[in-house]
């Protein structure tokens, strides 16, 4: 069995569940509907098969996740990904951080920001707009939230309008949810070791 990863990486790892994924052969109609399983689409990740143990919440969460991350207007995709990364750094969700850092790199066509984030963690120093977004996401992700009116004002001073700030609040908060599933219900493991 390959080793659990403990360091941040942009190489998306595999995910090894700590609880039993549902068996597709025994899935209820409700579960199949939530998983969008059809005769031509039977590939479902272990992560989603684990979440199908609570099908009512999964059905509510999937469209909500997609709307927060991909709805049109408001904050651009890279800003939402940066919010997701800020939460994932605080919650040390190696898997979530890898997925969303790599998307951020693709969207922004730079690797500098994520290199700094992974090296310095919560204390990362970024250009002013990115810093306002990242620092807010980090502070909102603490328990209780450490985000202040000054952090919110920094977003406004960086030029974000209410629509954009709302999208950042939603994406950072959403990863308070996603991190607590991904990081608590399974382990990130190196890809090549599993596939060898």
């Amino acid at each position: 069995m390959s080793e659990t990863l403990h360091d941040f990486t942009v190489e998306v790892p595999l995910w090894r569940p700590r609880v039993r994924p549902i068996d597709l052969a025994e899935a209820t109609p409700d579960q199949l509907d939530a998983l969008k399983v059809t005769p031509s689409n039977t590939k479902v990740s272990d992560y989603v098969l684990v979440l199908a143990n609570d099908v009512e919440t999964l059905k509510a969460r999937t469209p909500l996740f997609n709307a927060i991350m991909y709805n049109r207007g408001g904050l651009g995709r890279s800003g939402r990904e940066l919010g997701a990364v800020g939460a994932s750094v605080v919650n040390r969700c190696i898997y979530c951080a890898a997925v969303h850092a790599s998307r951020y790199n693709q969207l922004t066509k730079t690797e500098d920001h994520m290199r700094e984030v992974f090296a310095q963690g919560e204390a990362a120093t970024l250009p002013s707009r990115e810093a306002a977004i990242y620092d807010f996401a980090v502070k909102l992700s603490k328990t209780p939230s450490e985000a202040t009116e000054a952090d919110m004002q920094a977003l406004r001073d960086a030029g974000l309008n209410d629509e954009e700030i709302l999208d950042l609040v939603l994406s950072a908060a959403l990863f308070g949810w996603a991190n607590r599933l991904m990081h608590l219900l399974g382990d990130p493991v190196a890809r090549q070791a599993e596939e060898a």
Binding site: N53, L58, A60, I68, A147, E149, N161, L170, A173, L181
Partner: protein, 170 residues
Amino acid sequence: MEADTLNDDDVVLREAGIPADSPVQAALSGRADILAMTQKAHDAALTPAEPGGLSHALRAALAVRAARLHGEASLAAHYASLMAEAGAEGDVAALAEPATKDFADRRLAAFAAYTDLASLAPKDATEADIAALKAAGIGDADIVRLAELTAFLAYQFRVVAGLKLMQATA
């Protein structure tokens, strides 16, 4: 299922208390679908049709506990009202108080310990924390239900906290 108008009865909107003439309200209207889906997720996590081994009363009590750990007094009051509706009593009702960690029923002790970990320090979670739930007799499906409940709450509390900051600086 997509809503294009806000429902003032949604928990997040009620607790954030954004005035109708606020610019924040205008931004929220543009994301009415997300607010409606957030309320559906609240209902799925707190009052599901098939609650499994986590009764509505137990879910509401853990939600009060999590809200208090997050310093969210008004949301704690909301979940306390759900507790009352669900008829929470005895040791289940005692879960609402974060200072109470010892329970005769080891399942309740495990639910409390997991809620504290997931709320305060999810980064510190390890395989041993999930093993502790299993050792207390909590099955895989109930572990996922517990994880979704505490994770949803972490999301909801932060949305409300963020909206309040937006309003304070509007």
